[in-house]
Subunit: 332 residues, 2 copies
Amino acid sequence: MSGSPHPARATSADVARLAGVSRATVSFVLNDTEPGRVSDATRAKVRAAAEQLGYVGHAAARALRAGRSNLVLMPATQAAIGRLVSDWLDDLQQALHEHGYTLVLHGGRGADPVEVARVWAEMRPAAVLAPGPGLSPAAVELLHTAGVRAVIATGGEPVPGAHTVIFRQDELGRLAAAHLIERGRRRLAVLMPRERGLDVFAEERLAGVRAAAQGRDVEVTPVPLGYDWDEALALARSWPGLDGVFGYNDEYALLLIRALQEVGRAVPGEVSVAGADDLLLARIAQPALTSVRIELGAATELAALVHRMIEEPAEPGVVDTIRMHLIIRDST
Amino acid sequence: MSGSPHPARATSADVARLAGVSRATVSFVLNDTEPGRVSDATRAKVRAAAEQLGYVGHAAARALRAGRSNLVLMPATQAAIGRLVSDWLDDLQQALHEHGYTLVLHGGRGADPVEVARVWAEMRPAAVLAPGPGLSPAAVELLHTAGVRAVIATGGEPVPGAHTVIFRQDELGRLAAAHLIERGRRRLAVLMPRERGLDVFAEERLAGVRAAAQGRDVEVTPVPLGYDWDEALALARSWPGLDGVFGYNDEYALLLIRALQEVGRAVPGEVSVAGADDLLLARIAQPALTSVRIELGAATELAALVHRMIEEPAEPGVVDTIRMHLIIRDST
DNA sequence: TTGAAAGCGCTAACAT
DNA sequence: ATGTTAGCGCTTTCAA
């Protein structure tokens, strides 16, 4: 085939020409602004012309004109967490869409936070939702300077300059550790995933475990573990005699449990193990896995908050707290 | 606090003013186009001014001017599949970034494909990567008309108008079913997830199972199942006497296995079960789960393909095939 | 009820 | 070696 296989993309000017009206009229009709401004006959003409040409708006042009885009940005790291989070993201996407925003998940794991924030800022999103640890003060400043209206962080403590949804990673560790200690465990391990992007969360969870152990004659040992069977098996074989484990999350916890079983160490007899996320897998594991459940809250509320912050920027502050509680099962 | 908490975002004109040069010069310096055009002294001045003002480019303006954005769009559904895919996405994001593109995961599960394609088209992405079943001919046409250079589909058969990475969902079912039949199973179940967005894949996998059963005196029954313990348990209790199961993927397969075990039905004694994805969880399950492994291939190659297609659009065609093979374990 | 026109921030062809 | 300027597609004020 030679030449362009597709007709040049139609602009609103093309639509206007075909319909025999001005570009202004086209804009009013297609966006339904100022109802009653354009007569029904003209509306129909414009609609037909747009349809015929296969007209599709140009987000960049609109954003340029409006001074801001309708994008809401979120690091894609979040999406990889599991079904719980990804279902919730679906709801969030839907709720934001109803407010006229487009949720966009953006990668960039592992890179320099300020560099990542820069790429985000170039997209001039209306809002950014991100884990606090990835949002250095410099990054927040950069986003605001670039005109991002709403920066919403999730994390253990308020991020300066951003609204913060309090999500205490350390509380995950604290809850699990308190339970293990109550069960009589005194030598606690905390699994520290080797996978990129997880280290900041792991450190906070470890801190929570340490806090629970404080002044209680309990020893806490961080234990690195990659998400890999052979490594888990090697760890189980040379298990350093610890009697309680907080597994970072359910996946790592389950991996370790199987490895321990494989080398003949009883769970919970010899070692108690607790996870986090309360996946369905935790419930159906054998033994069923004690886990910290995270209540993500209604996505619609977060969407509404985002909308409010974009419409009328207010003082940054603490917004809401993600609640969590322990579900005790047979692994502890 | 009153007034704007942040300085107005600087434009390239501001940078030019501060540096005492023209906007053109700023553009040349910051983009490093035409090296040698600007003297070192001027370059330094411009850089310093940009730094001082916290200048950040404006992607929308650049896209408007260039006629296309540097966005590569992919449905976020993909991301929810699991660790295998999400790690791969990380690599893809990285590889695309090195070509100057920004990978964006976009939600929109469940909505009308053409409506979704419309929202995508408005962003004028350079490329769209999507599962074929979501790309109707109308959707592909819409994207092309909107100027999207590269539409790359994944699916069982070539999508008209798009390059296609052949990914035969039916082959997943065929491989698993052939194995089950070889093991002497004659009454096969195929789990059909109730979760939104998964039905198109499930139908194709079911078709693969049917193909394997063809002319072999094997009965195939689709069995709906939501990802939920109670539902799995109810299914197991009223198990319709089928002796082989293709579980859609590892997660559903594992869920069913546990439910069957719970009601005293032996796996693989009474029922053989196979999954797909070959998650680590399949390997550590008890019994270890037979699963179809999917070889996603190098993300760098796909990134290079995307780049090539954007630079010099060519005839759509079949690009590459995602390979898969069965890993036989104890569940069959 | 509709049209004309300015201008969002950027790049690149052309001029100096 | 650097500057001037047109124009990408859109919305919205102002004028008719």
